[in-house]
Symmetry: C2
Subunit: 219 residues, 2 copies
DNA sequence: ATATTAAGCGTAAAAAAGACGCTTAATTAC
DNA sequence: GTAATTAAGCGTCTTTTTTACGCTTAATAT
């Protein structure tokens, strides 16, 4: 039996979530839009395979990803009997290698403009979005989609995209500060306002400490 | 590459969560305690394989289960290159076929008395418990562990087992009633008190209706 | 100097969660 | 037959969290 891994690669650009897809390289559906995926080689971990294909396409070496689940219907791929381990990956959209992406024919689509994908990949995207919504609420993974330094309005915009609903800026601000995992920097971002917004950084050390003393992250 | 599926089979008995395991049937670790698992045949869905092995061991035809995830380390099984799709299954412990279970050498262990398991199965159990804790809070899956007719104190006891902490009976009662998915029956269970406790049934129809009108289940 | 606007601060009301005292319906003990 | 016992169930007050929204501030643009 073949085993593949497919990555639902999310990016956040210009206040919108985007998905990276590329033309399928093998099989009867060659050329159709597909998630970023590859077969798992006999001697490599499934996770290694995901890292390998993510690096091959984006040039990034340590992409953040988590497993979504296995898709194992016997008839999911008309070509071979193949199960796929789906992974969702979160990328800082400013950091990937644009030439490499272009070379592979990969493209970032806004989430609501993604064309039909091959096999069961549409389903995977839908499932990944639900999973992202749940996970991002309870774990600090959203930061993987933002630059290392970000503003509160940026963070809010991200969460509005993930949850697909507007949030009150004043309440959002209070909420995220109450988590105690944002470290304020001495810099402002002035790209979106005259006044400028303070930049923050996710304080992972403190997050880990808090975790150990039994606290509950929730945005 | 081989593909297997392993089921973390939970039951709730006597106020405690239990795990069903059996002696491994193949490979170098034959005879050691293992989760309920099997290879996935070439022509069957992964889910079908899970149902098949669950039925083979418990005699139940429609066991509730959800996927936990794929375990895909290259060296996880010293015998073969084999990835495993882990599933957690919830069983009404009064309903399984005791003869069949015995025949296969399977046994229900209290969660804190489970012996060491083969391969990465200990890890799977640990992960499944965390997943159960999360899922049972936000989705009405706990009912799969109780008889169709149950009392509020039974439900509370179940959630105390899942969360591993005590709950206030008066607040718990208020909470579950506010969900609006319990249908009161005209019967009492008198097995644990003189006064008797009213029996309830999970009202799935109403749950589905509420879901569609955007409500949020949380216990 | 004045207008403009995203960023940021504060407060009051509503809802949810937590703590806990008391009553009730049945059985068991005398 | 009466009293004691106890899990089940009801009600209330307090604290915390969430929601709604008015107002100020720091900078640029006019």
């Amino acid at each position: 039996m073949y085993v593949a891994t497919d990555c639902i690669v999310f990016g956040f650009d210009n206040g919108e979530l985007k998905l990276l897809i590329f033309p399928r390289r093998i099989g009867p559906n060659q050329g159709e839009w597909s998630l970023i995926g590859s077969f798992v080689e006999l001697q490599e971990d499934v996770d290694q395979a995901a890292l390998r294909i993510l690096q091959e396409i984006t040039g990034l070496e340590d992409v953040f990803f988590k497993q979504l689940g296995a898709y194992g219907k016997a008839d999911r791929d008309p070509g071979y009997r193949c199960i796929s381990i789906a992974q969702y990956a979160l990328i800082r959209i400013g950091e990937y290698d644009k030439e490499l992406v272009e070379k592979h024919g990969a493209y970032w689509y806004k989430l609501d403009e993604v064309p039909p994908l091959v096999l069961d990949h549409d389903q995977m995207v839908q499932d990944a979005l639900l999973e992202l919504r749940n996970k991002a609420r309870h774990q600090p993974i959203g930061f993987e989609l933002l630059p290392e330094k970000f503003t509160i309005p940026q963070l809010q915009s991200l969460y509005e995209s993930i949850y697909q609903r507007e949030l009150d800026s004043r309440n959002f601000r209070r909420k995220v500060f109450s988590l105690g995992v944002l470290r304020k920097l001495n810099e402002k971002d002035k790209s979106t306002s005259k006044k400028g917004a303070w930049l923050y950084r996710f304080d992972n050390d403190n997050y880990q400490t808090l975790l150990r003393s039994g606290y509950n992250f929730e945005i």
